[in-house]
Symmetry: C2
Subunit: 426 residues, 2 copies
């Protein structure tokens, strides 16, 4: 691999999600050579991905070219490649474009959908863990409506117009809200030949409340917001099987051609690491995010877990955790370069929020919780500010303002042909 050999320790970073991005941003690259691998040439702002899937935003608003983020960083090399395997004894990574030695390794490979072994659900459902999956989902939603027009079988038509979201976490709730807005404001105008009242949106949650990571008040608020918007909320219902048409559960059966799976995630560590893993395949790390059993291998973000008494499964897989871990580890490497000691990572919970629809969001702060219009404004402001650069903020703001004022969404293009269930998994 064409990486220059220089007289600095080489840190190989795998993955440019929030954790990897913030790590590289924080580290002083006069002290280290940094080589970053990602299979994509862009960083994805995952919290807004559901808006790409529901035709509210275009990909360019929420993803950012990695080369551009770091084009002034010294001793930094990005390589668009898949890392196949690591050898933690010889300190080598094996990638799709060759192998490379390292002094330090930072694994920030993130998480992927967890289907808990349910093969049919994995085969026939639409996950939404990557930009490409979000774009596929959007194409499928729109294509199903095109198909619904020219079928004369009423059951088939309703199934084409219906959506089951499995999983009542933030992604599921936000997507359900976005689909309800499509149903209310957009689809009746776009499809005058269809009776949009027949469109069904179900959200199926295994536990007894939506947004289980948030307060009871926010769970109640989000449920009542969704019900008001016409979403069918099903609690204590666990998915069992799906054949592309019907979802079988411990309770009722739900008919829908599209099943969106947001009910589970698992870590995706690179092969070859001789570490311990949690039940959801996350790498066990210590308080410095060092992988247990190694001196020079670290892991941050969703793929890493440091179980404690308060958090027996490790911290939740959240962007804010990944961001803080990335920054902390970068700073720790800077301390190391000055021959100082690393500091332990402590998560600062600044609150959580979820948006359900127009003027409707829920916010949990340490001491109080609230929902409604103010929460929604706050959600929008914070998410705008979190976007990587001014240009994205401007484009997203224009899109949101447009949607709000005109009760319209910008884009509903079918640019990918996803014609068959078996093709969905790209």
């Amino acid at each position: 691999m064409n990486i220059p050999h220089i007289d600095l320790p080489r840190i190989v970073v795998i993955g440019c999600g929030f954790a990897g991005l913030k790590f590289v941003k924080s580290i002083n690259s006069k002290k280290y050579q940094i080589v970053l691998f990602d299979k994509n040439n862009y960083h994805t702002f995952q919290p807004l991905m559901y808006q790409v899937a529901s035709a509210g935003l275009e990909p360019d608003s929420i993803v950012y070219p990695i080369r551009k983020v770091f084009n002034r960083k010294k001793n930094f090399h990005f390589r668009m490649a898949q890392v196949h395997q690591i050898d933690g004894e010889q300190n080598i990574v094996y990638t799709s474009i060759g192998s490379l030695s390292f002094d330090y390794l930072v694994m920030a490979t993130g998480a992927d959908s967890n289907f808990f072994g349910m093969k049919n659900i994995e085969k026939y459902s639409m996950p939404m863990k990557s930009l490409v999956e979000a774009l596929n989902l959007r194409s499928v939603i729109l294509q199903n409506f095109e198909k619904a027009i020219h079928t004369s079988d009423l059951n088939e038509r309703e199934a084409l117009m219906s959506f089951v979201i499995v999983g009542g976490g933030a992604t599921g709730v936000e997507l359900a809200g976005a689909l309800a807005e499509l149903k209310k404001y957009i689809l009746p105008k776009d499809y005058p030949d269809l009776d949009i009242r027949r469109m069904q949106i179900h959200i199926v949650q295994g536990g007894d409340r939506l947004l289980p990571a948030m307060s009871q008040k926010s769970s109640d608020n989000s449920e009542s917001f969704l019900r008001k918007m016409g979403v069918n909320v099903w609690l204590n219902v666990r998915a069992k099987d799906y054949d592309g048409h019907a979802l079988y559960t411990n309770d009722e059966t739900y008919y829908a051609k599209t099943l969106i799976w947001t009910a589970g995630v698992k870590g995706v560590p690179t092969k070859g690491l001789k570490a311990d893993f949690t039940s959801s395949n996350r790498i066990l790390v210590d308080e410095f995010n060092r992988v247990k059993g190694y001196e020079n291998i670290f892991s941050i973000g969703d793929v890493a877990a440091c179980p404690s008494e308060e958090e027996p499964y490790g911290l939740p897989m959240l962007a804010s955790v990944a961001v803080q871990q990335g920054v902390k580890l970068g700073k720790n490497f800077n301390l190391l370069a000055k021959e100082k000691e690393m500091k332990a990572f402590v998560y600062k919970d600044k609150g959580t929020m979820a948006t359900i629809g127009r003027n409707l969001a829920v916010v949990d702060m340490k001491s109080f919780q609230f929902g409604g219009w103010i929460a929604w404004l706050m959600w929008m402001f914070i998410h705008l500010m979190l976007l990587v650069d001014f240009r994205s903020r401007l484009v997203v703001f224009v899109n949101w303002a447009w949607s709000y004022l005109c009760y319209d969404k910008g884009t509903r293009l079918i640019v990918r042909k996803v014609s068959d269930k078996t093709e969905k998994k790209i």
Copy 2:
């Protein structure tokens, strides 16, 4: 097909390019039932497609959902489908979603790349006649730079970084200029590991000047603009063969992994029409755009040609011709509904323009020609105004202002994997 039967003549329109779109917009649908077929669910603003290919704009800025354009039109039905064949005796169209009878048919199927029988060029080159092709081209350009980093073969690296554009019409010239801007402002920052000076941009033109449809002055201007920007302009050079690596011509050989073909177009009429065709496969129509040999079948836009003494091959395949024909035919149908006579189509040439780069464009008006900064401002203003709606104008304006002020382009994402030459033709 689920199209209601009502007591109005049914007009079937095939294709929603400029001609089809303007036709449907102009016709009074209280007098006719309109059924529009297109294989995509969007209309494409083709004049800006090269900016999608060169990573300047995202697709949503230049395409527009068809259902949204017409969501207030009465007696109008859009169907996303491919029309396979027509039967002009029985008055039936056969489509991918079933057959449909018509009273009138309007064929606005447009044009596609013409490779003049050169099979290898067709196989290995990248055309740019559709949005998907433009997105594929963008991914290939960026992927080739990623590949160039990790090859150690210098010839291979230069070939990956080099581009041959065959065809010196507006599309070729505009794309060459956009690539030259990428080379000057963007790629050196994004790829510090590559020596961008090795990137070669060739434009190969069979005739003795660029922009042959414009004035000699504009040809000369565009050539000198391109040369100043570092583009290699080759006149009187005709492509013969391409093997994915080298372009063979009547003159020199040019090495490049990417060949962009903008050198020829041909009409793509639907099968089954018993009409006469020009040498470039356009349907011969009379001055009312009626297909010769039929009473109730019309054709407009690029696919139609009405050769005259001044225009022995028919009018040029331009957006402005298609727009004017669409509007005229719509109005003619409105006259017909009032039992008045149709009026002959006469093309009003309002001038032509092409942009080459930052502050550089050429404009031909009837009585005078000019190039440079004023021409560039005029080009931008007119293209902004031609976009379908206010939202697109705003988004394109933000992108252009950003690029101009920051010497940057918004988006350079690889969202499609086009890994092999044989996969390019999707």
